[in-house]
Symmetry: none
Amino acid sequence: MKNREHGEKLYISAFREIRSYIILNGLKEGDLLPTEKTLCERLGVSRNVLREAIKSMELMGMVRACPGRGTEICRFSMDFVFQNVLFFHVGDDDPSVREMFTIRRILEMSYAPMAFAALDQSGIRALEDCVRRMRKSYEETGYFGEEDREFHLLLFRPLNNPVLYSLLDAIWGVDVTFQLEQKKPHLSDSVVKHEKIVEALKKGDPAAFEEAMLRHFSSGKYLEKSGYAEY
Amino acid sequence: MKNREHGEKLYISAFREIRSYIILNGLKEGDLLPTEKTLCERLGVSRNVLREAIKSMELMGMVRACPGRGTEICRFSMDFVFQNVLFFHVGDDDPSVREMFTIRRILEMSYAPMAFAALDQSGIRALEDCVRRMRKSYEETGYFGEEDREFHLLLFRPLNNPVLYSLLDAIWGVDVTFQLEQKKPHLSDSVVKHEKIVEALKKGDPAAFEEAMLRHFSSGKYLEKSGYAEY
DNA sequence: AAATATTTGTCCGTATGTATC
DNA sequence: TGATACATACGGACAAATATT
């Protein structure tokens, strides 16, 4: 194995190499990976090590191995990871969770002006519909994690910036998983603040939009207790 | 293997069983899993199959296998999530890669004041040493990607912010894997700009530090051509 | 400090089931 | 139908890292 970082386990190097192979060769959904035998020879690892790498990929939904056929590339999402990774006593007070939200806040506020410019009427209508469902969901179940996630993704979708979008989506994925384990307090405020954002959008007032975004983020307990960044 | 769903691959059943074991027995971070041998016997699978399951867990950051010791349950981290989310956008197009650097710039500039406050003398000395090696590496090989990565990670390590760190590290990982730095022009400038950052740190001048950081980012081709955010 | 035991890392060989031609 | 290619699964062996005595 050539590109092996110091002290790194073999199967991890193999995983990285195969992942790079997929990217560099532009393999898409449905394409086949080289056979185990070929990959073993090319990477210079044993079959067991190679399989540890490939089974990891398969378990997470990156590929699907079919006996007699080969190993096929699949569309990849982080859903499996979020559903199966272990979460131990991570709550709102956990520093890592606060850091995650700080980063999300920084990114969303940095891109907010562009999002405002990129949103058209249909995008705004979608947001309006989303907060309506958010309020409904809150009144019925006291919880609206999914709608919250959807709202923020709708906000930045028109930017057509896949990297930012995936990153925010991933952070929200973790957030929603957290929320399922333990409900957050002071949710009623939060619905109103989302409604204010939509109001500003409908008026077409960029300053009001930024203000509403800021206020939205300054709700909750993340900001005041944060030991790190204050945007 | 008892609890095996119809048609399910063995290693996947093993994965589920081990995960259940962790949850049902209330294993927390730092606790050790039973040994491979024990688990093989209990689950009734071969060592290879068991390892495919455990290596999958390790790759996702759920456990860490230590030779001579055992397999330890880990705390949740975003390392895996960030690395893979970003990685799969590299093949897309150039704008996606530029966007990663924009995001890095946004985050680094947002956290710069805190990094400045958190750096102590030994941290500054480490940075000083790093730019020295950077210059040497540039003069000898014309390339200093590794030192560049090290410099920026050293800058933010004192913040002790694992989420930020793993995101920045993931972006640098993309950079190093595809050696994007090599394609950048004005590398000689870049060394000087890193030296200026260290100078400001040594003087203890926060304004000069921010100025040097900003100038450092305004070099390279990513800024002027970016179709998205301008910080 | 040194020897020993434990545990994971890595490799190899073999047999079996399944899809493709 | 048969032949081939491929992944699935098992078992054994030794190396390397760590813990224990």
